[in-house]
């Protein structure tokens, strides 16, 4: 017995969307769903039930291209990103975590740059004042 399941990736996990007994129909529908860009991921999984061994074997026969994940909108009250629960943190996408770390490093370096400019400006100012006093003294 064979079945073709369309799975969609939503809320951080794969869920069964629909089931067909025809491979071409399942793949056609999956491709059509992919064009809608509503799902972060789409795949078609073939399930084979062997009656003699009473075992089910599965294999992915179609995997759609991942859609662009919607950007998290900041929380209106705190100005921070949306709160994430423990489960969400546990299942956090490592790509997103890496991106957050990179953004943190970028903020620190720009702040250091500004401080450096400020210190340099102060030094130049002090040097100018001293120079003027020396010159006025010599004149």
């Amino acid at each position: 017995m064979r079945a073709f399941e369309i799975h969609t990736f939503r809320g951080g996990k794969w869920k069964i969307d629909s089931v067909f007994d025809d491979r071409d129909l399942a793949v056609f529908e999956a491709e059509r769903m992919e064009t809608s860009r509503r799902f972060a991921g789409i795949r078609v999984v073939e399930e084979n039930f062997d009656e003699s061994t009473q075992k089910i074997t599965t294999r992915t026969i179609f995997r759609g291209a991942p859609a662009v994940e919607p950007k998290a909108t900041p929380n209106a009250k705190t100005g921070k990103g949306p709160a994430t629960g423990k489960a969400a943190r546990g299942k956090a996408d490592p790509r997103r975590t890496a991106k957050r770390k990179k953004t943190g490093k970028k903020k620190k370096s720009s702040l250091g740059f500004l401080i450096g400019i400020l210190v340099l400006s102060i030094c130049i100012g002090i040097a100018s004042i001293i120079t003027l006093r020396v010159l006025s003294g010599s004149i």
């Binding site: 629909s18 007994d21 129909l25």
Partner: protein
């Protein structure tokens, strides 16, 4: 290509469906079901309007499962499906559907749809009492009136009789 004689009768075959529309009934109904549901898991029967799907409604059926989980009840059957049933099945249980009919094979996997809570499409063949082989394709789609529990199934099916000279 072989040249045909001038007196050959030519008949223009016109599509019943608008150009570009998906021809397969089960996929059209599945698409409509997704549109009705939107972001929800199940659409509601309250939103189902037969006038919006005139090209499909005659091949559709509605099963009531609230209180009839083990043996759903037909609440609506399209005219084309009814013609294949040979009897009025409205307000009758699925087990009352005559065997080896399009209606019977279309609802034979209703229990699986209720168990999984997702649309399931099946196809196959059966033989009419007169021995004619019939190929069919059907789909059953879960519907919910409260958004959480499946209260009924929307289904559709069509078929094609295979005569001896069409056997592949």
């Amino acid at each position: 290509m072989k040249e045909l004689p001038d007196e050959t009768e030519r008949q223009l075959v016109e599509d019943e469906l608008p150009k570009g529309m998906e021809r397969r009934l089960v996929l059209r109904l599945l698409s409509h079901w997704r549109t009705l549901g939107g972001e929800r898991v199940f659409p509601s029967f309250a939103e189902l309007e037969p006038v919006r799907i005139p090209d499909m409604w005659d091949n559709c059926l509605v099963l009531d499962v609230a209180g009839y989980q083990d043996n759903p009840v037909f609440r609506s059957i399209g005219s084309d499906l009814m013609a294949y049933a040979g009897m009025d099945l409205v307000n009758r249980h699925v087990t009352d559907a005559p065997q080896n009919t399009l209606v019977a094979v279309s609802v034979s996997y209703a229990a699986e749809v209720l168990r999984k809570g997702v649309p399931i499409s099946r196809g196959g063949e059966f033989f009419k009492p007169d021995g004619v082989r019939v190929l069919y394709r059907s789909i059953l789609l879960p519907m919910s009136d409260d958004g959480k529990t499946v209260s009924g199934l929307l289904g559709a099916a069509n078929c094609r009789e295979v005569t001896d000279d069409q056997v592949d």
